[in-house]
């Protein structure tokens, strides 16, 4: 136990300030946090659905929860039930086998039902496009509010994307 506490103390605090590419975006974090506080009671809940991803986007989604990015500090967190979710974050092309599961997840959400397509597959079909097995990008199945491009988007791009979208929609 002593070794564990020792390691914790020596590791210290990892969380970094979000590096924003320009000044306008730099103010986004604070602004969004304010919006999230005002409109979502201080917490924005995200339900993710992998509709046909290669798992690359999921790995980076996990990364935004690690100590360096710690997206929860902005009041943004991932939830298990769509009933609790303000935002649906979808990865991958929508495989035909997931088409109804995605729609039902969307229908189960309360308003405002923000929908974000994460990554090139979800945004534009990526390497897979439309086929017997794939409906193509998410917009073919449900209305999409915003796309975060990248294959996969880096954790920073994902965070910036989410923050911008909240700002834009509210």
């Amino acid at each position: 136990m002593r070794h564990i506490f020792d390691k914790i103390i020596r590791t210290g605090r990892l969380t970094e300030p979000v590096v924003m590419p320009d000044k306008a975006v730099a103010e986004l974090g604070a602004a969004c946090q304010k919006e999230v506080a005002a409109r979502f009671g201080g917490s924005l809940a995200i339900r993710m659905v992998d509709a046909g991803s290669c798992n690359g986007c999921e790995l980076e989604m996990h990364a935004v929860n690690n100590g360096f990015y710690d997206i929860e500090r902005f009041g943004i967190h991932f939830v298990a039930s769509p009933r609790h979710a303000d935002m649906l974050l979808v990865t991958g092309v929508v495989s035909r086998h997931m088409q109804v599961a995605l729609k039902r997840t969307y229908e189960a959400m309360p308003s405002p039902k923000l929908v974000v397509a994460m990554g090139d597959c979800a945004g534009s079909g990526g390497e897979f496009g439309v086929s017997y097995a794939s409906c193509g990008p998410v917009s073919q199945v449900i209305a999409v509010d915003a796309v975060i491009p990248g294959c996969p988007p880096t954790p920073l791009a994902l965070m910036q994307g989410i923050l911008e979208i909240i700002q834009k929609r509210l």
Binding site: K7, G56, C57, S95, H97, A101, Y132
Partner: protein, 535 residues
């Protein structure tokens, strides 16, 4: 004391099997084996099951099966692993009456791959113990077969594909037995799949997996691609194994075309493959511990993973190393300063992981949760052909880097950790050991990397059909690629076999008699790829 097992290989040898097949009266046609494997034989469809029976009796490991449509025939191929090489067995079936005896009675591992062949090519297995469909949900009819040449890539889908709620799950009657359906959408940041539990109280009696939800049509969308485009696709078969699948595809292509890649670029590929292994093991160790509420390990290992991925981005331009392996070589070179950087990174991670792993292994309340949880016995692991860390925690050691080394591993010595217990604790431990081995290999690679050599050589088409097989030890285990190119260098058939095909069935076995709340930790300890399996 640690229970680490001595070196131990799959006992079977091709040198033993081939005479035995002849003695058993099975006519064998030698075939010009596609480059990349030791032997290829062609047998009549009637002998398909018997070959497997003899191979099992010789102690070979069943590795994969797949099909290819050559109208009016369908070729079925199966791959076996012996310690002296891989054996490819092939048979030709008329497409109108594609019937084969099953290999599943001798190799349970063949169960789902054969059902996949049934769903995608219309091959009927006459004595298969489980004739249910596997990959075919409701997106195409059961009498349509997407991998036949005449099936158009666009298919004929309905505007909305019905959910597959009629899949005939096994029924387990009994007093107090209840079912828990889970998925396809899971309660976390995970890929989709369906798990059907039968439980009594908290105890799992039986788990049945139903996968295929992220079937994106990888193989069909590979058809007609050029090599550069194929490599990009291979890198997205399973995002966490992008290096393994891309290397396997490029290796298959280079073997088919007779291209020799520079030794320097092979060293860089191996560095990438070891980086991928370390990144995934770091993430998994943390995530497994998190599933039993030990957040300390989760925070520490995700810290290390993040630092590791940032270095990948800085040196190779991508955090997951996508698109760095390209046909003919690699996209990024390393200069002297970068090699120095990698040396010091390896030293730092040895020290970091060397400090953390003992904390985990010695922490009683963590080990109390992981020991004896989700046991896969060595016998069960052998029957299912378990690969990678899942196999090694149950003393199934096969590692291509050691047993059938491909360049540059033929110049290195690879230590393979293995244990007997086969529980979650040992699957964590093997991962920790493998990180240490990989860091050692990275140092060996950096010391021995040839000073020059082209980064990538051209992969010109040969003007005739050619085939190759790629076999790479990915972080999950043996990763296969079968590739058939036409004279213009375009893809006729691409089949990637992720190790998850072999490891998913182990989860059904090892979860029995565990409590339902331990499913997440057992699942994470196996960490099968949904995308790599569903294709």
């Amino acid at each position: 004391m640690s229970g680490r097992q001595k070196e131990n290989k799959t006992p079977g040898r091709l040198a033993e099997l081939l005479p035995r097949l002849r003695e058993a009266g099975i006519p064998l046609q030698p075939v010009n084996a596609p480059v990349g494997i030791a032997e290829e034989i062609s047998v009549s469809p009637a002998d398909w099951g018997k070959v497997a029976q003899e191979a099992a009796a010789c102690g070979l490991r069943w590795s994969a099966c797949w099909g290819e449509h050559y109208p009016p025939q369908i070729l079925a191929k199966a791959l076996f692993f012996g310690q002296d090489g891989h054996l490819l067995v092939q048979t030709a079936l008329p497409e109108k009456l594609a019937e084969l005896p099953s290999q599943t009675p001798y190799y349970p591992a063949a169960n789902r791959p054969e059902r996949y062949l049934q769903d995608m090519f219309g091959v009927t297995f006459t004595d298969h113990p489980d004739g249910r469909r596997w990959m075919c949900h409701q997106a195409w009819w059961q009498d349509q077969f997407p991998l036949l040449k005449e099936f158009p890539r666009a298919g004929t889908p309905e505007p909305e594909t019905r959910p597959d709620f009629e899949y005939p799950f096994a029924v387990l009657p009994g007093d107090g037995v209840y079912e828990i359906p889970v998925g396809p959408v899971h309660a976390g940041i995970i890929e989709p799949g369906h798990f059907r539990f039968h439980a009594v109280g908290e105890t799992v009696l039986r788990l049945e997996e139903h996968l295929g939800y992220v079937h994106r049509g990888v193989e069909k969308s590979a058809e007609g691609r050029d090599l550069a485009s194929l490599a990009r696709l291979a890198g997205r078969v399973s995002g966490d194994s992008t290096v393994a699948h891309t290397w396997a595809a490029c290796q298959a292509a280079e073997r088919a075309l007779g291209v020799s890649v520079s030794s320097r670029s092979l060293f860089i590929r191996a560095l990438l493959a070891e980086r991928e292994r370390v990144a995934n093991h770091l993430g998994d160790i943390g995530a497994i511990c998190n599933d039993v509420g030990f957040t300390f390990a989760h925070v520490q290992f995700s810290r290390l993973r993040e630092l590791w991925q940032r270095q990948s981005l800085a040196l190779f331009g991508h955090r997951l190393l996508m698109d760095v392996v390209i046909p003919g070589g690699v996209a990024n070179d390393l200069n002297t300063a970068q090699i120095e950087l990698l040396f010091s990174e390896a030293a730092r991670f040895k020290q970091e992981v060397g400090t953390l792993m003992p904390l985990l292994l010695e922490y009683p309340s963590l080990q109390d949760r992981l020991r004896d949880t989700g046991i896969l016995s060595p016998q069960q692991a052998k029957e299912l052909g378990a690969l990678g860390y899942v196999g090694r925690a149950s003393n199934q050691q096969d590692d291509l880097r050691r047993d059938l080394p491909y360049a540059p591993y033929d110049l290195l010595s690879v230590d393979v950790p293995a244990y007997l217990q086969g529980d979650v604790a040992k699957r964590v431990r093997v991962r920790g050991d493998e990180i240490a081995v990989s860091l050692g290999l990275i140092e060996q690679l950096l010391k021995k990397i040839p000073a020059d050599g082209p980064l990538a050589v051209p992969c010109a088409p040969t003007g005739r059909d050619c085939m190759g097989i790629g076999l790479i030890e990915g972080w999950r285990g043996e990763t296969l690629c079968y590739l058939h190119l036409n004279g213009a260098g375009r893809v006729l058939r691409y089949f990637p076999r992720d190790p998850s095909w072999l490891n998913w069935p182990t989860l059904e076995v090892l979860i029995a008699d565990n409590i339902v709340p331990d499913f997440p930790v057992c699942n994470k300890s196996v960490n099968g790829s949904y995308a790599g399996h569903d294709l």
